[in-house]
Structure formats: structure tokens, C-alpha cells
């Protein structure tokens, strides 16, 4: 049972991990696209 359980995980877990990794990377990419740092111009006194 333990051998079968372990080898099933060897076979299937990488696919699931890949799925989550892709989701994470796509999220990171989208966040970078949305990234808008706010830099306010200094007040210039007339």
C-alpha cells in the first residue's frame, strides 16, 4: 500500500504542483502588469 501510495504521488503530484506553479506565475505576471507605483510631484511654491 505504501509503495503504491508513494509511486502514485510520484506520478500525479508533479502535475498538480505544475498546475499550482503556473497559477502562481500567471498571478505574479498579472500583478506586475497592474503595478502602479505612486510618485507625487513635489509642491512648488510660487
Amino acid at each position: 500500500e505504501l509503495i503504491v501510495e508513494t509511486t502514485t504521488k510520484r506520478k500525479q503530484w508533479p502535475k498538480k504542483i505544475l498546475m499550482h506553479a503556473i497559477q502562481t506565475m500567471k498571478g505574479e505576471q498579472e500583478m506586475l502588469k497592474l503595478y502602479q507605483p505612486i510618485v507625487t510631484p513635489e509642491e512648488i511654491r510660487s
Partner: protein
């Protein structure tokens, strides 16, 4: 030595040893079943011979003996069959990669290489954010420059306005006008002195 045959288990979904064990148990169960069937047939036939000196107990003993005999032979033969099946059928050759492991064939990454890639990605993300921030800072500075430019233009406009006023009142050059005014005042002074003298 114990061989877990893990790669085969990964492919089949069961260990080859479990498979052989289940085949063995199936065969064994069938053997027991057959023995019982044979025994019942013999007992039935025995009913047809009421004067037979053979008892059901003896039949049972013989059945057990026969079963033992068959089991011993079966075990020997099954042992050979199991060896052949495990080596030649339920076996993945050492040079074979299963499809799910094909990715490791050409690009084996070490833990350090993976970490280096991760670090590079993090660095690139930081650099991107820094460049985006620098871009925004430059845009903010452009806004500041526009404000300063507008103020400086106001000053220039003020000077232009002053010049226009002077020109409108006939004075385009302060220095010249002032010099002219001073000269005329001196002339007037001279004339007045003259008149005063002549008047006296």
C-alpha cells in the same frame, strides 16, 4: 534482498509482487474449490456402492493428501512462473523512462540550479518594479518642471508687460530716456542760471 519494484508500481498502479500474490491466491482458491468438487463427486459415487468399505472420513483424508500433493507441485510450478513473470513481463527495463518522467531525460536541474532560477526571477521582478517606479518618478518630475516653467514664463511675461508699458508711454529704453531726461534737466538748469544772471 528486498526489491520494492517501485517504478513498476508507478506504471501499473500495483506492485508486481501483489499481482503475483493475487494470481497465486486465485489459483489456490480454485484448487481448493476443485478438490471439494472432486470429493463430492467421489462421495456421490460411493453412495452407489453401499457395500464399499471406504468411509467418508477416509475419502476426506485422501482428499487432503491429494490436495497437499497438488499444492506442492503447484507451488513449485508457480514459483517458476512467478520468477519468469516478474523478470520478463511485470518489469520495466533499466533504460526505459516512463512518459511522466520524460522531462528529466534531457534537462536535469539540480536543486541549486532551480534556486538560482527562482532567485533570478525574483531579481527581475524587483528590477521591473524599480524601473516602473523610476518611470513614475520621471513623470512626476516632468510635472514639477511644467510648474516651474509656467512660473518662469510668468516672470518673462511680467518683463514683457513692463516693456510694453514703457513702449506705450514712449520709453523703449530706460537708460537712453533717463540719460536724455538728465541732459535736458542739465540744459534747463543752465538756462535758468543764465536767465537768473540776466535778470539780476
Amino acid at each position: 534482498s528486498v526489491n520494492p519494484m517501485a517504478y513498476e508500481a508507478q506504471f501499473f498502479g500495483f506492485t508486481p509482487q501483489t499481482c503475483m500474490l493475487r494470481v497465486y491466491i486465485a489459483f489456490q482458491d480454485y484448487l481448493f474449490e476443485m478438490m471439494l468438487v472432486v470429493e463430492s463427486v467421489i462421495l456421490k459415487k460411493l453412495d452407489g456402492f453401499p457395500n464399499a468399505k471406504i468411509s467418508a472420513f477416509q475419502i476426506r483424508k485422501s482428499t487432503e493428501k491429494f490436495l497437499l500433493f497438488m499444492k506442492e507441485h503447484f507451488d513449485k510450478l508457480f514459483g517458476k512462473m512467478e520468477e519468469v513473470l516478474l523478470q520478463l513481463v511485470l518489469n520495466i527495463p533499466k533504460n526505459v523512462l516512463l512518459p511522466e518522467d520524460k522531462v528529466h531525460e534531457q534537462y536535469p536541474y539540480t536543486k541549486e540550479q532551480f534556486q538560482a532560477l527562482q532567485d533570478e526571477i525574483d531579481q527581475l521582478q524587483q528590477r521591473y518594479k524599480a524601473e516602473a517606479s523610476a518611470g513614475q518618478a520621471l513623470l512626476a518630475e516632468i510635472e514639477e518642471q511644467k510648474t516651474v516653467q509656467a512660473e518662469l514664463e510668468k516672470i518673462l511675461q511680467w518683463f514683457d508687460g513692463l516693456e510694453n508699458i514703457c513702449r506705450a508711454h514712449g520709453t523703449s529704453n530706460f537708460k537712453e530716456s533717463f540719460a536724455f531726461l538728465t541732459q535736458n534737466s542739465k540744459k534747463l538748469q543752465g538756462v535758468l542760471k543764465d536767465v537768473e544772471k540776466k535778470s539780476k
